[in-house]
């Protein structure tokens, strides 16, 4: 196997969140395979994530403070606007630090650009002799409705490969005319020793308490599902800006007896092992790690079919149940089905544990290495 130099260039080295966790895990997996890995962040994180005492890779952050967004030229001046030129020049100077790092690497290094904002600097840097792989860690639909759509098209147009999360997302980008697009799923973030015994009559939800995670929809769902299955408890893990409003909603719906606000947890496996069903009611997701974790723990998932990533992870009717996006009654029906049927929980939970192995770290790492080799052909 070829030992390579691998750079991750991301918005931040260690921002707390799904992308940060993915990056840390991938960097660790690849260094365990003998590659020399470095993570370069453009800006310092807002909420840092603990990388442990000795991460097996080097890190570097280019700016001390978050740099401002790209200036729009004033009317009529176009690219001759002096303010734009000044900003361009200062960005080039920073990009030169990237160039120096890339030039120092042996030819054939791989530069993985985790997010498109970071690509604005990589595009200015000298990457000659190396492979550049751009990534988008959200669903096509989410990008489509944001400013990132135009930026992905612009800044990623010359990379060697653009990677998205699923085949379905890649297809949609290809139809948009991005012919260098392909896909690679995220690896399973953890491998628990033992699955959940699925004995406790508890449904778990794990996620920030904000609009995107749709816990308000979950409470409405629970209001329909709980009365049909007395004795079950909904345990909601997480904190966030909407917590007060959600607790009020819970009380108004008369659900205080069957909902437990469990707060933020660092022990995801422990939380999952205390539950028999996992529920996700998000308004949008990319490739949700928490579904992978729940399945790895043998907990069958019920979720809104909100993105290709969710469909890719959960095989509807086989190892979990998906409801049409936003259809609260359908989500409640699915929850009811699983809560009412211990056999179904067991078969789906066991199948989930098996099926999710296709995202095992060693499988995904091998796919990355095959990709590096393929791009050199």
């Amino acid at each position: 196997m070829t030992q390579r130099e691998i750079f991750f260039v991301a918005n931040e080295v260690n921002e707390l969140g799904g992308v940060g966790r993915w990056q840390h895990q991938m960097a660790r997996l690849l260094s365990e395979r003998g590659h020399r890995v470095r993570i370069i962040g453009i800006s310092p994180p807002e909420v840092p994530m603990d990388l442990g005492a000795h991460p097996p890779y080097e890190t570097l952050t280019l700016y001390d403070r978050r740099p401002p967004g790209r200036r729009k030229p004033r009317l009529g001046l176009g690219r001759f606007d002096p303010a734009v030129r000044r900003q361009e020049a200062s960005r080039r100077a920073v990009a030169e630090r990237l160039s120096r790092a890339f030039r120092a690497a042996r030819p054939g290094a791989v530069i993985i650009v985790t997010q498109v904002w970071a690509m604005e600097w990589v595009a200015l840097a000298d990457t000659a002799g190396h492979l550049v792989i751009g990534m988008s860690h959200e669903s096509f639909g989410a990008t489509r409705h944001s400013s990132r759509f135009a930026r992905v098209r612009r800044y990623y147009q010359d990379v060697d490969r653009l990677l998205v999360l699923t085949q379905e997302d890649a297809d949609r980008w290809a139809v948009e005319g991005l012919t260098h697009v392909s896909f690679l799923p995220n690896p399973l973030p953890l491998t628990p020793d033992a699955p959940s015994p699925r004995t406790e009559k508890a449904v778990a939800s794990i996620g920030r308490l904000d609009h995107a995670k749709g816990v308000d929809l979950l409470l409405d769902t629970w209001a329909e599902a709980a009365p049909r299955q007395p004795g079950w408890l909904l345990r909601i893990y997480g904190t966030g800006e909407h917590e007060a409003a959600l607790r009020r909603q819970c009380t108004d719906l008369g659900l205080d007896d069957s909902v437990e606000w469990a707060g933020r947890t660092d022990d995801v496996v422990g939380a999952l092992r205390r539950s028999s069903v996992f529920v996700q009611s998000s308004r949008g997701e990319g490739f949700p790690l928490v579904l992978l974790e729940a399945m790895a723990c043998g907990v069958p998932c019920v979720a809104f079919d909100c993105s290709p990533g969710v469909r890719e992870i959960v095989r509807n009717g086989e190892d979990g149940l998906l409801a049409r996006h936003g259809n609260v009654s359908e989500l409640a029906d699915h929850l009811g089905r699983l809560m009412a049927d211990e056999n179904l929980r067991d078969t789906m939970g066991e199948r989930a544990r098996q099926n999710v192995r296709r995202f095992a770290p060693e499988v995904i790492t091998r796919r990355w290495e095959e990709l590096f080799a393929f791009l050199e052909r």
Binding site: P107, G108, T127, A128, G129, H130, L131, V132, H145, D158, V159, D160, Q167, E168, A170, D171, A174, V175, G177, T179, H180, V181, S182, H211, A212, G214, L217, R283, G284, F304, C306, R324, H325, G326, N327, V328, S329, F374, E376, R377
Partner: protein
């Protein structure tokens, strides 16, 4: 960002690309370059020259010399005359694990090989196919049109092509694909020799042999097309007919393969495709060819398609089926108009014939029952159209030039004698430039005559004298005939047909930019078969002048001029754009004062003068309350709006200004969501019906909107100051779904329903307005009136599905002819077509602006899930619910607030028989459901008491408020 590595030293390339060339040394290097520049580097090129007579082979050898390890050149000993043989030689010479084909005038997309190889290795497919894009190199903006894009939307893998018949019948190209070489060798797949359409057979055999096929949505192949969009010459057309023999031969060979493999289903798909597409390619040319060619073609076609199974014909739409039938019969007189409709789908081309309440394409062939079915065009709804909305075939019968004048004559078809013999007829011809006209030119038509099935016309057009084009940018001029019959105008294009325009002389013409840019005007035929004119250059001076113009049109000065023009156009677009209007509106809100006493009314987004806003307006007028009333209307012209109100078009500047300064906004659906409301303005939201289906924030689509979008929507809803409800059901559903706080609710009922409540209280009071409405609609005074008002169904993509009667309307008319007149009112998103056989018994009232008089007029209502049920219940007249698809409807993505079949205050029918049975005795229905109806009204509309308009006007517009 490319890796500099030594060129692949491996013995085996991943892909061999076979590039075939014949006399094309100019473009060959471009094609080869597109392979050498592939992001996948381990690719070899094999150029196969079909014994060109130009320097193609030398060019190929030069390329091979420049890239010794990547390019090889082969030359056939003698010209093969096709693409098959060179490709076979290329295949034989290939060393790669995969093989692709490329023509010397096309190119590969930069990542084509990488994407095809990745898919092939991932799925193990024998054949991987990618999206092909046709590049129109001679169009102004180099138009790019994907080839069968619906096949290439998602990555798809099938184990047999029988699972994807569309791929088999449509994508017959061999070039946008990557084949495993061992697969080609093992199955002995080669191209046939000495015959056209070799791709068709090769692709068919490859598809059928492949154990796995993968499609990818990535563009892989650019097919450069350099055909002018104008019509082909006669010799071109004859040539294509000659090729038809080859096409049939290829099809027969494919059929033999299908037969051997026992793939009858696939054969059927191919037959259908042949009738719908292959045949049509040739039919388009028939009007221009003489009888001898037509006959030869018909004989050939008949020999092939007459054995097709009936199923193939059954799946054709009406026009295709008519064409196929008439071609078999060689009924040229009726086929030519049918071909015109085939090319121009909205056109009515034949005089048509009515027999026993059905409409037929022509009056012949009707004795044969099977043919009769084919000729039946009732469903197309031709007969229901007014003359103004008919696009009629207008066949050119004469084209002659006398000096500077063109003599034209033609015949406009008169379907079903829509234009009566005694009609007052006038006509004029209009010339308009295709791209951009500074002005159009109109010429009177000398004579127009009624000749039964046709309206013939003759004109002498003094083009040389009166026609002054600019000369640049307006080279092509289309001609139309405007025909007026008794004040109704219809516009038609002139079909060239078999009049010989190719040899017709050109006219002298004097462009405004002088004769140095063009000096002749020549007739030509458009792609749709219509007469047009083109400016041409005859004298050497004009030709030189034109060449100069062409050069300068691409020079720096012209570019600067174009930039300026585009800039100005962008500024204009920006000034009238929605965002700019919204900005200016909000400035108006700040700067302009409120005009006391002004009320802006709008109903259903301006589509109608109707509903509660209308009822409130009429109440204000009845009391002569001094208000300035402004009605908003949508569309080009307001129809049916009151004369004593100011009318403003929705989204016009006057509309925005009226809204910005109004004291009251009254509407039943919502003023544009982006327009804020000032606090001094009172917004009275009357709403337009109680809800069965989930609404507002109860709809899943709204629930999952982003926080930002939800906030914007909530702000638009917060503009309402008062929200009318008909009952507590509305409070539980609508008010909750739109998050309307308690203090904004007006529990007064709907003004539009006052008339219904009053009619229920005094059932015997005659209403002269209703009687005149009944007369206008042509309702038989002795029959009772049923109103059928279904709601629309949505498709998975959210749009409304086309309306079709869920019961046999002719059977209905037959059965209840003596009892009822049926009024049909579909949802405004739908349109209804009635067969003439039900005329007088079934009447389409979808076009009536206001539904309330129709409710009053009818003795019973048939509906499915429309909210009209809540209003009609107030009349206490019988209702029948035709809930044939309740399961599907209630389970669709939105969901419902209650279980209709359980609560319905009338019989719920699920089948046509049940429906007809329920309608048998209305009187019995009345008595049986009296109590249920009362309960239904109490539960869903208890605040509708007949005085809503009066109480609202009292509250908001009473004189004590001191109107200005």
């Amino acid at each position: 960002m490319s890796i500099v590595t030594p060129e692949s030293a491996g013995t085996e390339p991943d892909i061999s690309v076979v590039v075939i060339v014949y006399n094309d040394d100019r473009r060959l290097p471009v094609a080869v370059r597109s392979v050498l520049d592939q992001s996948l580097r381990n690719v070899e090129v094999i150029v196969v020259d079909d014994c060109s007579t130009d320097g193609s082979y030398d060019t190929a050898r030069a390329l091979a010399a420049a890239h010794p390890r990547r390019v090889r050149a082969i030359r056939l000993p003698e010209n093969s005359g096709g693409c098959g043989e060179p490709r076979n030689h290329g295949m034989a010479a290939a060393r790669g694990r995969y093989v692709m084909f490329l023509d010397s005038d096309d190119t590969l997309e930069r990542h084509a090989c990488r994407n095809l190889l990745e898919a092939a290795e991932r799925t193990g497919a024998d054949l991987v196919s990618g999206r092909c894009v046709r590049v129109h190199t001679d169009s102004r903006h180099v138009k790019r049109i994907p080839w069968y894009p619906w096949l290439y939307r998602t990555t798809t893998t099938v184990e047999s092509v029988a699972d994807l018949p569309d791929l088999f019948v449509f994508d017959t190209l061999s070039t946008n694909k990557c084949y495993r070489r061992s697969f080609l060798v093992d199955h002995g797949l080669t191209f046939p020799r000495g015959i056209h359409y070799e791709d068709l057979l090769f692709s068919a055999e490859a598809y059928l042999a492949a154990a796995r096929i993968t499609l990818i949505p990535h563009t892989v192949y650019f097919w450069n097309v350099a055909e002018k969009t104008t019509a082909k010459s006669i010799s071109n057309r004859r040539h294509e007919i000659n090729n038809f023999t080859d096409r049939l031969e290829i099809h027969r060979r494919i059929d033999a393969v299908l037969d051997r493999r026992g793939l009858g289903e696939l054969k059927l798909c191919k037959d259908i495709k042949f009738l719908k597409h292959d045949l049509v390619l040739y039919l388009r040319d028939l009007p221009f060819l003489d009888n001898d060619y037509r006959h030869r073609f018909a004989a050939l076609a008949r020999g092939y398609v007459q054995d097709f199974p009936q199923e193939a014909y059954d799946s054709l739409d009406a026009v295709h089926a008519i064409c196929a039938y008439l071609l078999m019969r060689e009924d040229w007189d009726h086929l030519m108009p049918a071909i015109d409709t085939l090319i121009n789908r909205k056109k009515i081309s034949a005089p048509l014939a009515e027999r026993d309440g059905r409409i037929y394409w022509c009056d012949r062939h009707l004795d044969d029952p099977a043919a009769r079915e084919v000729m039946d065009v009732t469903r197309l709804g031709y007969h229901g159209k007014p003359l103004e909305r008919m696009f009629l075939r207008n066949l050119l019968t004469r084209y002659a030039v006398r000096g500077g004048t063109v003599l034209l004559a033609g015949a406009v078809v008169n379907p079903l004698h829509t234009v009566p013999a005694d009609a007052d007829l006038t006509a004029e011809l209009e010339l308009r430039a295709r791209r951009r006209s500074l002005r159009s030119y109109r010429f009177p038509v000398r004579t127009v005559r009624h000749e039964g099935d046709a309206l013939t016309w003759q004109a002498a057009v003094p083009l040389a004298r009166a026609f002054r084009p600019v000369g640049v940018l307006d080279e092509v001029w289309d001609i139309r005939l405007h025909l007026t019959a008794d004040g109704q105008r219809t516009t038609s294009r002139i079909t060239a047909g078999s009049v010989d325009l190719e040899n017709a002389p050109a006219l002298p013409v004097r462009p405004r930019l002088t004769r140095l840019v063009a000096d002749r005007l020549a007739p030509q035929v458009s792609a749709k078969g219509h007469l047009a004119f083109r400016l041409t250059q005859h004298s050497p001076a004009a030709q030189r002048g034109r060449a100069l113009v062409d050069r300068n049109l691409h020079g720096p000065a012209a570019r600067a001029a174009k930039r300026t023009y585009r800039g100005l156009r962008a500024v204009r677009r920006d000034l009238t754009s929605g965002t700019r209007k919204v900005q200016v509106y909000h400035r108006m809100l700040r700067l302009l004062p409120v005009r006391k006493g002004t009320v802006v009314f709008e109903s259903h987004l301006g589509k109608q003068y109707s509903d509660s806003p209308r009822a409130l307006y009429e109440e204000l007028r009845r009391r002569q309350t001094p208000v300035t009333a402004i009605w908003s209307y949508a569309g080009a012209r307001p129809t049916g709006f009151p004369a004593d109100a100011e009318l403003v078009r929705r989204w016009s500047w006057r509309y925005l200004r009226a809204l910005a300064q109004a004291e009251f906004w009254i509407d039943n659906q919502g003023f544009p969501l982006k327009l804020a409301k000032r606090p001094e303005t009172t917004y009275l939201q009357t709403w337009h019906g109680s809800a069965l289906k989930k609404m507002g924030f109860d709809q899943p689509a709204h629930r999952v909107m982003s926080e930002h979008a939800q906030l914007a929507y909530q702000q638009a809803l917060d503009r309402f100051d008062h929200f009318l409800v008909r009952g507590e059901h509305d409070v539980r559903t609508l008010a909750r779904a739109y998050r309307i706080p308690e203090h904004k609710l007006l529990r007064l009922g709907y003004p539009r329903n006052d008339a219904l409540v009053r009619a229920a209280r005094n059932p015997r009071t005659p209403d002269p307005a209703l009687r005149s409405l009944a007369e206008r609609l042509g309702i038989h005074p002795d029959r009772r009136v049923l109103l059928y008002a279904p709601t629309f169904r949505s498709r998975p993509d959210g749009r409304a599905r086309d309306f079709a009667f869920p019961f046999d309307i002719e059977a209905f008319a037959e059965r209840f002819a003596d009892q009822y007149t049926l009024l049909v009112r579909s949802h405004y998103l739908n349109r209804v077509t009635l067969p003439p056989s039900v005329t007088g018994r079934v009447i389409d009232v979808t076009g009536e602006p206001d539904i309330t008089p129709l409710l009053l007029l009818s003795d019973a209502l048939i509906t499915d899930y429309s909210s009209v049920m809540f209003d009609y219940a107030l009349l206490r007249r019988p209702m029948v619910f035709y809930a044939h698809d309740w399961e599907e409807y209630s389970r669709d993505t939105r969901g419902t607030y209650f279980d209709l079949p359980a609560e319905a205050p009338g019989p719920v029918a699920h089948t046509e028989d049940e429906l007809f049975a329920a309608l048998g005795d209305l009187r019995a229905l009345s008595t049986r459901y009296e109590a249920r109806l009362k309960e239904f009204v109490n539960r869903y509309g208890e605040y509708d008491r007949g005085d809503a308009a009066a109480r609202i006007v009292d509250r908001f517009f009473a004189p004590t408020r001191q109107a200005p």
